[in-house]
């Protein structure tokens, strides 16, 4: 693949991610502000965005720190919350299987809800996606740069406006996810998957450490598979 094709995929990845990245801006700023108001130092706050680079985990760690939770409990919670990334990575396995490890490392490090949403949207319905890693890295690097910058802005704002974390700015992320999920609800199985996820989440929200989220995701996927005609067809073909 030519350098030009690579850079155009890289740019397209960044561009396709821009609505979600814009939505992540308030999120990053709130993180920075929240972290320093709960007593994390400015450098540690920035380091968390640079090395951990996982919004949900960062928020949970800081929230638990504020309530003086023990380190092992924080770490266990972070790990459980991150298990959804394992599902994300697993669903992209066919796309990375021919890539050298030097690409898989940065792609794994930069795998977020946003980049996964955009990349899986890009892959959906296509048989082959050459140079997908450049698209992925474009999305991821744009997200990383903005996240780090917003953390710094948040640290500064947190010193000026202490109650900024109560403004509810995280709503931007939610409407961004709506914009990814809803246009991809095409089959009956897709709708059933979304409806099950919603219903099950409402039944399990009081479970500790986001275990309800994981349980609901698995349940929703199982329901979708049971209703999915394409799988039934391929299973029948295998029997013949």
């Amino acid at each position: 693949m030519s350098t030009k094709a690579k850079s155009s995929l890289f740019l397209q990845g960044a561009l396709d991610s821009s609505p979600l990245i814009l939505a992540a801006i308030p999120f990053g700023m709130i993180f920075g502000a929240l972290a320093i108001t709960t007593g994390l130092s400015s450098w540690a706050t920035l380091a968390m965005s640079l090395f951990v680079f996982a919004g949900a985990s960062q928020f949970i760690a800081v929230t638990l720190l504020a309530s003086a939770t023990a380190l092992p409990v924080i770490l266990l919670t972070v790990f459980v919350v991150n298990l959804r990334h394992m599902l994300y990575a697993a669903s992209l396995m066919p796309q990375v299987e021919n890539l050298p490890q030097k690409f898989r490392f940065p792609m794994a490090f930069w795998l977020t809800d946003e980049t996964f949403a955009v990349v899986s949207n890009h892959v959906a319905g296509k048989k082959d996606t050459p140079g997908l890693h450049w698209y992925f890295l474009g999305s991821a690097l744009a997200m990383y740069t903005v996240w780090a910058t917003c953390t710094v802005i948040g640290i500064i704002m947190g010193q000026q406006i202490p109650d900024i974390s109560s403004w509810g700015l995280d709503v931007a992320m939610l409407v961004g996810f709506i914009g990814i999920v809803v246009p991809n609800l095409k089959l009956r199985a897709d709708w059933a998957c979304a409806a099950t996820a919603m219903f099950s989440t409402l039944m399990t929200y009081h479970w500790p450490n986001q275990t309800g989220l994981l349980f609901s995701s698995f349940l929703a996927i199982s329901v979708a598979i049971l209703l999915d005609r394409r799988v039934k067809v391929s299973v029948e073909q295998n029997h013949e």
Partner: protein, 104 residues
């Protein structure tokens, strides 16, 4: 608590689940039904996250007009049924949130 120890441990615990499937890709063959199941991951996980953060506020089910997150999500949902443009969906959702904050 040592904040640097926390960050180092979190880095490992975040990277590992992200990397494991990528590292194994190509070495293990995923059965077709599992591969198909994984295509439902975005819908399942993202819907669960949306539900958790919009229908449930402060640890309780909040089906009322005071829940501005829910109003924003509903506005974004209605828009997404008409337009597939992510930017438009996000803009309408945010506009609904700001209006709800001001008017309600």
């Amino acid at each position: 608590m040592n904040e640097w120890l926390l960050i180092a441990a979190m880095t490992v615990l975040t990277f590992t689940p992200r990397y494991l499937p990528f590292g194994m890709a190509g070495k293990v063959k995923i059965p077709p039904i599992l591969e198909r199941a994984l295509t439902f991951v975005p819908i399942a996980v993202l819907t669960s996250i949306i539900t958790q953060s919009s229908l449930i506020r402060h640890g309780e089910l909040a089906l009322n007009l005071a829940n501005h997150h829910l109003l924003a999500v509903l506005a974004a949902f209605a828009t997404a049924l008409i337009s597939r443009q992510l930017f438009i969906i996000v803009t309408v959702g945010l506009a609904a949130f700001i209006m709800a904050k001001w008017l309600l």
